[in-house]
């Protein structure tokens, strides 16, 4: 089994099947370190930022004990030689950014929750990263690195030796230490530094006659080091994505495992020495044999540096499609939380080097049936960008996309938007692709039959029409539902073109402000064209009358129509929070408003069609019946809206079943207690829930947000005002005109003890009719809450007045 800390959870993977076997949740904050119990290999210690250490039986997934320590625990180490204590890194009280290593005595008192307040200082002035401390042979000494200094503390002699290396600054960086590892049987410390050198220190019990040798292969920071179990070899990894195996500490004998895909963050060796695994920056675990052969990989949604393509839904597989590995397109299945496949678009070797401009994928579009895929890649150059438009054909035989046409420099400048004409019923040859570019034109590409008899394919793509408008830069393009009209936005103006004759039909504009997004209405609302400008207006034009139907003052960032219904989702960004509005173009009133969706800017959104329409009782969620809405924020969190009410979800989640499906595969830490930040936030209100799986560095996948673990619910005191608020709003609904079901989204962390959470769970499960209960609770409304309410009401009115 492979254990790994992911967010608030500890995950257990099977090495045989790469499946997530178990998810152990219980910490209220991010898990910072995990260690196998050195005396019982079926038990696991985990530490968390919430200041507690938990002992787990990971085979059954049961927490055995909880030791509450108090301060934030930043890393955890357990030693076989120290019977009843573990070592943790805590922040030094009263000082910022200074940390100390302390040993915590774990009392053997009975009971599940034990206080462990007996701390004794071991080392002062250590670094916060768990990679900066290592325990030596049989726990005789502890070594810590910080910046340019190496400290070694011998437990028996109580002797502290400090060594430092002189700073060298090259233009690439410095030589600060980045990681440390200790030889398991000999007195040898390996340190890695930011300039790529690995130093092997020996004889360090003498203050003066210490000596070190240097291994240098990495050209950039050494991210992690690990000795093999016997200590005969040393593994190192860095941004080169190459795992290096050094034999016998020799500079000349080394083996490589290259092309691991992305920078190596952590390396861990299994206790039997047969396997080692590397953890990558793009959210992946690679398992490697002891003879340095690639064995398996555990991966979920690949995190890429920048999601330039947006999230697009593949019509064929219903998978989310977005940037994956550099130059690759990943197809990510939301239902199974798996990457379906990765399509290499750029087809060039990726070189890991800072400052090197690499060609990357910027735009993706699918035809309606998913038969054609268009991609745009560009290489960022200051003077002239290198652009390529590629068209891929889905090959039924190989079940993959095949390159059909490659067009070099389709536009003179960056391509801003691209879309296919979505016409389900028409045959292939009516497919049209439109690209807009900053070179002030939009181009129409059509399929032509290949006249060349030697050509292997029957069709290829070529340019059919080039349109421009007053030499403005073209920004967006969009086909109407029946494909007869094309809307192209040129800075402040939207132009509508006949897609058969390519005549300019009419123009719309809503000065001031450039058009940011446009889309046509669908089904019953297909006569409407929606546009959002960057000075904060959402406009709806009637295409029949060519007149402005309505407009609203909203700073819309994302405009996303549901392909299966007439609803359009718009995400606005106002005063540092994102809000969601869902509306039908034919009426200026939104159907659904979700204020304060999250604190981050939402950059992308996509409707994913459901396999079968869901039965939704509440009228407010009718728009979610056929599709599900997903958001990607600029910190690369993936979120969704759920329709199920709270108690529906509590039942499965309290059993902790199927929970792992709702979590992103964030295999950040392995047995050695390595971690990554992941927070699971959830907010409740009148039976709605948003699960945010927040990840600092990668975009987690949310497949089934509905299964929210009960134990991570906020406390009762926290839930109360929300319930009361919502109740009041419903009353207002009757009295006042229409007040949107206002939901206060609380994105604060749930910082409660698991015990309290359990109570909450029980409480929630008891009330079968929450409305009744809440009704009884109204009298508890305090004055302060009333004030809050009034404030909310003000906000609401201001918004309504915008219409």
């Amino acid at each position: 089994y492979l254990l790994c800390a992911a967010g608030d959870f500890v995950k257990m993977y099977s090495l045989a099947t790469e499946e997530t076997l178990r998810l152990m949740g219980g910490h209220a904050d991010r898990v910072t370190g995990i260690q196998l119990n050195p005396r019982n290999h079926m038990q696991l210690y985990s530490s968390s930022l919430d200041g507690s250490i938990k002992l787990w039986d990971f085979m059954d997934g049961i927490p055995i004990k909880t030791f509450s320590v108090g301060p934030k625990l930043l890393a955890l180490y357990a030693l076989a030689s120290c019977e009843d204590s573990v070592f943790v890194i805590i922040p030094k009280s009263g000082e910022r950014d200074t940390f100390q290593l302390v040993s915590v005595k774990l009392t053997k008192a009975a009971g599940q929750d034990v206080e462990a307040k007996e701390l004794s200082l071991v080392l002062d002035g250590v670094d916060a990263s768990p990679k900066h401390i290592a325990f030596g042979r049989e726990g005789e000494y502890v070594a810590s690195v910080k910046e340019l200094n190496l400290q070694v503390y011998f437990f028996k002699q109580k002797q502290l030796n400090r060594f430092s290396v002189s700073a060298t600054k090259t233009k690439g960086g410095n030589n600060h230490f980045t990681c440390i590892a200790c030889h398991p049987t000999e007195d040898c410390i390996a340190t890695g530094s930011a300039d790529g050198k690995i130093r092997l220190w020996r004889n360090f019990y003498h203050k003066k006659e210490y000596t070190f040798s240097t291994l240098h292969w990495h050209h950039d920071t050494v991210m992690d080091l690990a000795f093999s179990i016997e200590g005969t070899s040393l593994l190192s990894g860095g941004v080169e994505s190459v795992l290096v195996l050094w034999h016998n500490e020799s500079d000349c004998q080394k083996d490589f495992l290259p092309r691991l895909g992305s920078p190596i963050e952590y390396i861990s060796v299994s206790p039997d020495g047969a396997l080692c695994c590397t953890l990558h920056a793009d959210n992946r675990i690679t398992i490697v044999n002891s003879n340095l052969r690639f064995s398996k990989s555990i991966q979920g949604l690949i995190k890429s540096a920048d999601v330039k393509t947006g999230i697009v839904v593949d019509p064929r597989t219903k998978a989310l499609v977005l940037n994956g590995e550099p130059g690759h397109l990943q197809f990510y299945c939301l239902q199974s939380d798996q990457q379906l496949f990765s399509l290499d678009i750029v087809q060039r070797q990726y070189i890991h080097q800072a400052g090197l401009n690499q060609a990357d994928l910027v735009k993706v579009a699918f035809s309606a049936q998913g038969k054609w895929l268009a991609t745009v890649e560009e290489r960022e150059e200051v003077t002239d960008p290198e652009l390529q438009l590629k068209l891929w054909f889905y090959d039924e035989e190989t079940q993959s996309f095949k390159l059909n046409t490659r067009i070099n420099m389709p536009h003179e400048d960056h391509i801003t938007d691209m879309c296919f004409r979505d016409m389900d019923e028409l045959e292939d040859y009516s497919l049209i692709l439109v690209t807009t570019g900053r070179d002030c034109v939009f181009k129409v590409w059509v399929m032509v039959e290949d006249t060349d008899p030697e050509a292997q394919q029957s069709v290829s793509w070529s340019c059919d029409f080039v349109g421009s408008y007053h030499n403005y830069q073209a920004a967006n393009c969009c086909f109407s539902e029946d494909g007869s009209l094309l809307a192209v936005s040129f800075e402040e103006t939207i132009t509508v073109w006949d897609s058969v004759t390519w005549d300019l039909k009419c123009t719309f504009c809503h000065p001031p402000g450039k058009i940011r997004n446009i889309c046509f209405g669908r089904l019953t609302c297909s006569k409407y064209l929606i546009g959002a400008t960057d000075c904060g207006f959402l406009c709806c034009w009637n295409l029949l009358s060519c007149a402005l139907e309505w407009s609203a003052h909203l700073n819309i960032l994302v405009l996303q129509p549901d392909p299966l219904s007439e609803y359009i989702a718009a995400v606005s960004w106002l005063s540092k929070e994102s809000s969601l509005f869902v509306f039908k173009p034919n009426e200026p009133r939104p159907i659904y408003i979700q204020r304060n969706l999250c604190k981050e800017k939402i950059q992308l959104a996509a409707f994913v069609p459901r396999d079968e329409p869901e039965m939704i009782g509440s009228e407010k969620y009718l728009w979610l019946r056929r599709s599900q809405l997903f958001f990607l924020t600029d910190t690369q969190e993936l979120m969704t809206l759920s329709t199920k009410s709270l108690e529906d979800r509590l039942t499965p989640s309290s059993k902790q079943l199927a929970v792992e499906e709702s979590l992103p595969v964030t295999p950040f830490s392995l047995l050695l207690g390595k971690h990554r930040r992941q927070q699971s936030q959830e907010d409740t209100g009148l039976g709605k829930l948003v699960v945010q799986n927040k990840n600092e560095q990668d975009s987690p996948a949310v497949k089934e947000l509905l299964h929210t673990p009960a134990h991570v619910l906020p406390s009762a005191s926290f839930l109360c005002p929300i319930f009361i608020n919502s109740l009041l709003i419903s009353k207002e609904n009757k009295s006042a005109e229409e007040v949107a079901d206002e939901v206060e989204m609380e994105s604060e962390k749930t910082e409660d003890d698991s015990d309290e959470e359990r109570d909450v769970t029980e409480m929630e499960q008891e009330d079968t009719s929450p409305m009744e209960l809440l009704g009884e609770m109204t009298y508890k409304l305090s004055k302060s809450q009333e004030k809050e309410l009034r404030k909310i009401r003000k906000i609401d009115y201001s918004w309504i007045s915008a219409f």
Binding site: R137, D187, R202, S213, H219
Partner: protein
Amino acid sequence: QVIPGHESRSVEALCWGAGGRLFGAGLSGEITEYDLGQLRASCSLDGGGGPIWSMAANSSGTQLAIGCEDGSVKLFQVVPGGIQFERNLDRRKGRVLCLSWHPSDTHIAAGSIDAFRVLDVCSGQTLQRIMVSYQVQKVKRECVVWSIAFLSCGTVVTSDSFGRVQFWDWERGTLVESHTVSTSAVLSLAVSEKEDSIVVGTSTGATYQFQLLPVKMGSLEKRWVRTKPFQHHTHDVRAVAHSSTALISGGLDAQLVIRPLMEKIQKKSYDAALRKFTFPHRRLVSCARKAHLLLFQFSQHLELWRLGSTDETGKDGEVLPLRRMPEHLLQLKSKGPEHIYCSCVSPCGGWVAYSTASRFHLYRLQYEGDGISIKKVPKAPKLLSPAYQLQFSSDSSSLFVASARGSVHVLQLLEPGGCRHLHTLRPPSGCSEAVYLLAPSADGHWLAAVSGDWVIHIYNLKCFKHHCTVPTYDCAVSALAIHPDTNNLVIAYSDQQLFEFSIPEKQYTAWSRTVQNCGLHKGWLERDSPITHITFNPKNPSHILLHDTYMFCVLDKSLPLPDDSALLLNQSTLKQLPESARQRQLHAFKICKKFQPLLFADLLDGNCLVVVERPIMDIKIQLPLPVQRKKFGT
């Protein structure tokens, strides 16, 4: 000091015998003893086994073992006045490239191609023969054991052409440890006296240190660990030595590097700095001040150049156009296989003298317009021993020849081309070592001579009598000169001390005493290379011009000496200061580091300073190509 080379006599191995005797052996097949006093080969004996590849002395220095081309190891006894063949040890096929005695003198390890042997000294038998060959995919390649060391614990350390340093248990014939340090050959190896550290030199120019370190704290199990790499050379490191505080390495790139081991040195001092020696600390260039000629000494020939000149003047930093290009006047090839030891051109440019180990030559040069004619001076006196230094008097009327046993011969030069031995100056108390530095005074009255025992004798040339001896200072004299006006002798020692000695008063001058009381600047004392030449500014008697390999310095005696807190190299900062502040900041040492490496600097008459630079790149392009290494990022 330099023992001049001999073309047919290459030196493959050097070792010290008992009583500080130096022996060398080479591919000529001869073992040569060098007379360190007279700086020449004193006696040589044919080894009788073809070219000698290696030689090692036993721990007491009484026996020499040589390894020959024919695979034999021969023992020689060091006897007073020479060496004596003792016996042959067991002969096997394959040249013996390296030898090492066991510290107890009972066994010898001998490395050859693909194998090394351990020989018993008493019986002469081969006790063990161990193959070190190396198989790569069934293609057997020759593995050369370049260097070997026998440790007292019975471990034999070998270094071979595959870049491996291997540790063998010779009795069992097993490999204990093997370290691959390089992809190219490991050529040399040296063990420290305590046998806890080994230094090896490779053909890539890198040297590595191995240390014997305990595996665990407090445990007795120890292991050799490769620790520090040093890259000071660009070419093969042919020889390494391990002193108690430093690693010394020398190689094909003609550099000698002393790398101190920081952990062995208690305090930061002169010893704690890395030293690199590229050039011999000798005068290889001489200058005819009046005729504007430069004479360059090479190992087998001399070159005479006339300096170019210009009419223009310019500001600091400008390069002026030349009116007349420098002109190569003469190339003088020495006869015979011996190398030129010293040479000199007279100030008027009319005489050139040079000396090899056995012969002395004097030439008369005559200039006819642009042409030049050279005539060998006949009947040059047969000097008893070779000349160690040559110096013309400032009026070009006489030549001083430094000779063995502390004597200086004075030759009178006669027109149109003759010479006469005038006198031989000898130190009153006698001296066994040769004179290696001479300094005549400008008025022709005095001559200072330094012999190998570092005693400076001053002679009166008017009456050819010994005048006085400068008080002895326990350090080698690196340069000396007599001031033209005051007849003060300025002496620079190799520990960077400066003294001024008044010849007429036979005592140190007041300035010299102040220097000694105040002490010189720390930065000055910690410089790498010694002063190799001293000259004076005739316009300003308080100016002394000194130079070493990396800088030249105008020492102004009228200005205060800098204390340790002041900046020694202050010329660039002074330029930026206003006039008043500059006056306060001035100190006696005005150093210019513009020309590096500096071979020679001298003042010509007429306000000219001639500086000879020898760019290291010029030397390097004459060397064989270094081992190619890929440098990352290029």
